[in-house]
Symmetry: C2
Subunit: 400 residues, 2 copies
């Protein structure tokens, strides 16, 4: 039975995780969900601040386990020389170190990439920060919201007559987390060929910019300054968000064939033959008239009815879901298993979001709890040869 | 000199790229920028539709090269048996096949993962689609906008009194592209251990959902239904977007220390000692009064002045940039090299967005042109042993 149990594609990859809050822990959660052996290292004096973030279940943070499940946890004070010595021993045996301190923190401790490569030439040293480890803004403090503003995505998001709008989730953090996973795995591929590790990095700002590549190109290739378009799409119609009797839905006609199917679907077969609606450019120009037909057709129908009718007609269409609908959706919550249960000791089992990638042969690791604060100290330091007595002394000294 | 030239960490990785439009080409552009050898395969009858998308430079699409640079290009009709035979030969020698057809298309051609693994047991077969290759919605057509609505991110984005709002860039496509790169590289890691390839996949919807993990948790752990909060943050203040005399800026006080620095920075040192402003929870409750002080201080200052003052005070602060500012920013465009020049034959050299990850030892591949339509047919089919005469016949038959 143990033979057939799937453990994820990264089984065997050893990761030392110094990250806190969201971007870094999200990255190492991906690695852990894909089967890597992740040891989260926290300062014994405070630890990851998100252990204090709500929502709470039985007075315990649900925020922390959501992005730290499937990891082991130790405490370690890297400001103490004995702590640094322990860290060097752990790094000597690791494939990857990940950190999201402000640039320079690890170097000042004598634990930067140049220090660690002397101990372990194959190590991949991965860094996530607001602005990156080099460049004039490298020391600026940053949060998701400042990265969103800096990157242009806020300027591009919002209603046409409204202010720049924050993307409603902290995607600056989560995308930088995914990007550093790409960099780590690419560096591991490279190491298999060269035998050598390297330092890899991304920043919240750069990660967000790269997502908007086709908006930037309108500026670089045509001198246009893209701005907020609300929920419409500049060059296609109908394409965007419409109102039903009980909520909103999205409709996307990206081709002439979609538009013919759409016209049939709303009972207006003549539309593609009407001069005003005979091309994307003309439909964009006559968008208001087009939308009036759509809204008249939709006004007495629910989102579910409209989506059924449009999908039957062969037109891309989907509801604007709240989390309530998504959490019980037969496809997303059911078949795609996007919300597995986390059974964290001391809490009531609750659902978390899964990573979105699937592996036919290796599967993903089963969802296991997040570490207690220092919960794996005895095991992990024990494996380095520390006796129970020595660990007691280290604990008393505040090293672990 | 050739020895010291950096080529990217994925040098040697062979990728067959069947993708079209945005999500798939963005994924293989990442692989190519990291040095993989990517061959883009297009149908000789039409090719990637984005070759017809603007903006245009010298009547040539700038859209296509932006996400297809650094690839080679061949034409191949996989509906013809001779075409499929050529494809099998290419797949026998590839590490990775990537496609973003609707689920089932490759299986119907006899070129699905189960077919290809018989030819090449180590192959990684990667698939991106709107809803994934399994589950009840697998055959639904999808675009970025339908994925954004389906995933909850639109419901979460927007002003509090406004409608659900599309994220202003096609992040459903671009994030799914990055996620499939993670899956491909994780499967390659796994293959190094097991010798076996596998099928990997993601969907636009699942990729977007995973980004909102900390919003979902509020529902799963606390039963709250997260909704649109505009540009504020529910549990912290001041945190969000404010107006200056010439535009908008973001300010983020995530800790009490930030708030003390902020109060000093706007010349109101008494603030942290005022009952109303003495904790995050109280500042959220008295947000309007707090904001009045900020806005009064800010009204006669520019975004640049405010950011300078706040950063000097040690408070996370940044402008809400448009693409114009970003394109000439000394950090982003300068030090971080986020906008390298693409010199595409037949066009005027123009800037594209870079990938956001950096590698200290292997660097990235230099930015090379996107392929002409079928531009590498002679080389690549020649390497399979096809003579000029045979290629001419294949061309006449519409196979290539």
């Amino acid at each position: 039975m143990a033979n057939t149990e799937k453990k994820g594609p990264l089984e065997g990859l050893k990761v030392l995780d110094l990250t806190r809050v969201l971007a870094g822990p999200f990255a190492t959660m991906w690695l852990a969900a894909m089967g890597a052996d992740v040891i989260k290292v926290e300062n014994p004096n405070d630890g990851d601040v998100t252990r204090q973030y709500g929502p709470f279940i039985n007075d315990r943070s649900s925020y922390f386990p959501t992005v730290n499940h499937n990891k082991k946890g130790i405490t370690l004070n890297m400001k103490a020389e004995e702590g640094r010595e322990l860290f060097r021993k752990l790094a000597a045996d690791a494939d990857v170190v990940v950190e999201n301190f402000r640039p320079g923190v690890m170097e000042n401790l004598g634990l930067g990439y140049e220090d660690l490569r002397k101990i372990n030439p194959g190590i991949i040293y991965a860094s996530i920060s607001g602005y990156g480890t080099y460049g004039p803004y490298r020391n600026r403090p940053g949060y998701d919201v400042t990265a969103q503003g800096m990157s242009g995505i806020m300027f591009l998001t919002g209603q046409m007559d409204g202010p720049p709008t924050r993307v409603g989730s902290s995607i600056g953090d989560t995308i930088a987390g995914i990007d550093i996973v790409v960099a780590i795995l690419a560096a591991i591929y490279c190491r298999n060929r060269t035998g050598k590790g390297q330092k890899v990095e991304t920043s919240l700002v750069d990660s967000l910019i790269s997502l908007s590549t086709q908006d930037y190109i309108r500026f670089f290739a045509a001198g246009e300054v893209p701005c907020r378009m609300g929920n419409i799409y500049k060059s296609w119609a109908p394409y965007g968000t419409y109102r039903a009797s009980d909520g909103y839905y999205n409709l996307g006609c990206g081709t002439e064939e979609h538009f013919r199917k759409f016209a049939r679907g709303i009972g207006q077969r003549w539309m593609p033959d009407d001069e005003r609606f005979s091309s994307h450019a003309l439909r964009v120009a006559y968008r208001d008239e087009l939308d009036a037909y759509i809204n008249e057709w939709a006004q007495d129908k629910t989102v579910a009815q409209i989506c059924d009718l449009m999908l039957q007609a062969g037109v891309p269409c989907a509801p604007v879901n709240s989390i309530v609908e998504i959490s019980k959706d037969e496809h997303i919550a059911g078949a795609r298993e996007m919300f597995p249960v986390l059974d964290q000791p001391g809490m009531v089992p609750y659902r978390v979001t899964n990573i979105p990638v699937r592996f036919s042969e290796s599967g993903l690791a089963p969802v296991l709890p997040a570490p207690e604060f220092g919960g794996d100290n005895d095991d992990i330091y024990g494996a380095l040869g520390k006796t129970a007595e020595e660990l007691k002394v280290l604990r008393e000294k505040g090293v672990i």
